[in-house]
């Protein structure tokens, strides 16, 4: 694919170029990520939204080289992560962190919270124990937990919300530049979810972070993102500023997603959903535009030709032969 259409004015901290990730299951291969390119500017939050099985989590893991890509490059602050191996890659790790969906499974059940948060410091080579303890306590207070009550305890003594705060502290203790949040609030209750979203926003300002926020809940993604990328079956179908994208979606799939969100207001009658069937399996994605099997606007061209991401409004790109705007 030629030059990157989602160019971002300021210097991009992260550039993903034509990333392809596939893995075998039995005799068949899963086309999890197919030729995805995107950029995230320093200090920006890019939302990545899509239904389960669209490959958004795989993309996040591939960017961090936790899953090897079949082809394509990942440039972080100019350095090509895909080319790095072993120690060189490990050295970059402290600049890039990851937060997971299930907070309780993200903490080793047999280690004390103090050790869990000190672990990144030990790995990064902070030898002085007193200094480590200081940093741990400082970061715990930053995420709203009292170090004295937390450091000596085991993960099972905390609620989901508190465990997620501990995971955020672990990610922040090394003062990273870039954090991938992979569905960080999906496993939490509504009341706790808002606490963690506010915490993430506050940490972003305080630590000057750049975030990739992955989720399936559009309202959550819109609440935290400057720009949003919509993904379907391994491909990006639309990228654009979040307010603009949700006001005037260009891709039929984005429109379908927005229309399907249950609105907490009795006056808004839920639109009678047109029967759009089920998403196909990532092991046998349809030819051309992968959404054509569920798209009311699909025609022969959609089946023949894979639509490229191209600009359709200021800063908004869409991969569709018959965009909505």
């Amino acid at each position: 694919m030629h030059g990157n259409p989602t160019i971002v004015a300021r210097d991009p901290l992260l550039k993903v170029e034509n990333l392809v990730v596939e893995y075998p299951i039995g005799a068949r291969t899963v086309h999890a990520v197919s030729d995805v390119s995107l950029e995230i500017a320093r200090g920006e939050t890019l939302g990545l939204v899509g239904e389960s099985g669209c490959g958004k989590s795989t993309l996040g893991r591939a960017v961090l080289q936790l899953r090897r890509a079949k082809s394509g490059r990942v440039l972080f602050d100019g350095a090509d992560l895909t080319a790095l191996q072993g120690d060189a890659l490990r050295k970059m790790r402290h600049r890039v962190q990851l937060i997971f969906q299930d907070p309780i499974a993200s903490l080793n059940p047999r280690r004390r919270i103090g050790d869990i948060i000190a672990e990144p410091l030990v790995i990064a080579g902070v030898k002085d124990a007193k200094k480590r303890r200081e940093l741990v306590c400082e970061t715990l207070s930053a995420v709203g937990l009292d170090p004295a009550l937390v450091v000596g305890r085991l993960p099972h003594e905390f609620s989901g919300g508190q465990c997620q705060r501990i995971c955020i502290a672990r990610a922040l203790v090394l003062n990273p530049e870039f954090i991938i949040c992979d569905e960080p609030v999906s496993a939490l209750d509504v009341s706790i979810r808002a606490q963690i979203l506010n915490l993430l926003e506050e940490m972003k300002q305080r630590f000057a972070l750049t975030l990739l926020f992955i989720a399936h809940d559009l309202a959550v993604v819109k609440a935290v993102s400057d720009r949003v990328a919509v993904m379907y079956l391994g491909r990006l179908c639309e990228v654009g500023p979040s307010a603009q994208l949700f006001d005037k979606p260009a891709h039929p799939y984005t429109a379908l997603l927005i229309e399907a969100i249950p609105v907490p207001d009795p006056d808004v009658r839920p639109a009678e959903s047109v029967a759009v069937g089920e998403p196909p399996s990532p092991m046998a994605p349809p030819s051309g535009c992968r959404f054509r099997t569920r798209c009311p606007r699909a025609d022969a061209k959609c089946a023949a030709e894979v639509p490229e991401l191209r600009p359709v409004a200021s800063g908004q790109y869409v991969a569709c032969h018959h965009p909505l705007i």
Binding site: I25, G26, A27, R28
Partner: protein
């Protein structure tokens, strides 16, 4: 499904080959020299050398292995220099005895184990459950040779109901045959049923907490159907795998039981070959038993694939 069978078959061949290699290598562990052992202590050096030559013992080991394997593949496992009988004859002669013993033992274990497992699963945590689980647990700690002695002491020595030893072929006197299999089969069954019961019980307890059982109850199905179809069927799959693993324990058990009860089976043949240092028979029997065990496990795997639709019908 066929892909699954083919893959498993393909996996089976190297295992069988490796088993034959390992069996052959075990023989080379012998301190000293096979020929010297065969001829006994009055062997003169040149006689030993002559025997070594015509047995090909002076050839490099891999050459001897290929030669030996060539013979094995055509069914010639070698001939015992003690009894003159070929290994194949000895094994095929005694196979029915061991097979009948194992079959009766496994049946016994299933007949005792399954109903108890279901009863305990339904009344999990009750006094009955704790009692049966406790008994099963302590039976696990009673080795086969121990229960054999106890059974002999009570039924043969004290009550004199059943023969302590001896064997009557089924063709001659079916009832007599069964009588002399009761104690041996019971000895093995007493060691097996706790394993089956515990696995099936814990699996049933887990299954009974699944959503689809709550759904079955919400559908108003009869409790018997819920238990014996909706709960037992998925749980019985783990039972099949456990029986596969247990065959190995059972085969080991036959060696002990056949020796105690003097049943002319493969186990006793194996022991005899060890006591009389008949190393050709020993090597042949070990190979046959191992090959049989691998094939039995293969059959159990196939049975599991046939029973579990998730494997039979592959992907979603």
């Amino acid at each position: 499904m066929l892909g699954f069978v083919a893959r498993r078959l393909l996996y089976l061949l190297p295992v069988l080959l490796a088993v034959s290699l390992l069996t052959f290598l075990i023989a080379s562990l012998l301190p000293g020299d096979l020929a010297y052992v065969i001829l006994g202590d009055q062997a003169t050096p040149d006689k030993v050398a002559a025997l070594r030559h015509d047995m090909g013992l002076d050839q490099p080991i891999w050459w001897r292995y290929l030669g030996w394997l060539g013979h094995v593949l055509v069914g010639d496992f070698g001939r015992s220099f003690r009894t003159g009988q070929t290994v194949l004859q000895a094994v095929t002669e005694r196979l029915p005895v061991s097979f009948e013993l194992m079959l009766l033992a496994e049946l016994g274990a299933l007949i005792i184990g399954i109903p108890l497992a279901i009863a305990c699963a339904v009344r999990a945590g009750s006094a009955f459950d704790r009692f049966v689980t406790g008994t099963a647990f302590s039976m696990l700690s009673v080795p086969a040779f121990l229960s054999a002695i106890l059974l002999i002491y009570f039924f043969a020595v004290e009550l004199r109901w059943l023969p302590a030893t001896g064997y009557v072929p089924f063709s001659e006197d079916p009832l007599g045959n069964l009588r002399c299999f009761v104690l041996p089969a019971l000895t093995l069954a007493l060691g097996e049923w706790p394993v089956l019961m515990r696995v099936l019980r814990s699996d049933m307890i887990a299954t009974l907490q699944e959503d689809y059982i709550a759904m079955a109850r919400a559908k108003g199905l009869k409790p018997s159907r819920i238990l014996l179809v909706h709960a037992l069927k998925p749980s019985s799959l783990t039972l099949v795998t456990v029986t596969g693993i247990n065959i190995g324990r059972l085969m080991g058990g036959t060696v002990i039981v056949e020796s105690i009860f003097a049943l002319p089976g493969i186990g006793r043949l194996l022991l005899g070959s060890i006591y009389t240092r008949d190393l050709i028979i020993l090597q042949g029997v070990v190979l046959c038993v191992a090959a049989g065990y691998v094939l039995l496990n293969f059959i159990v795997d196939m049975l599991y694939a046939v029973l579990d639709p998730r494997i039979r019908h592959g992907h979603a």
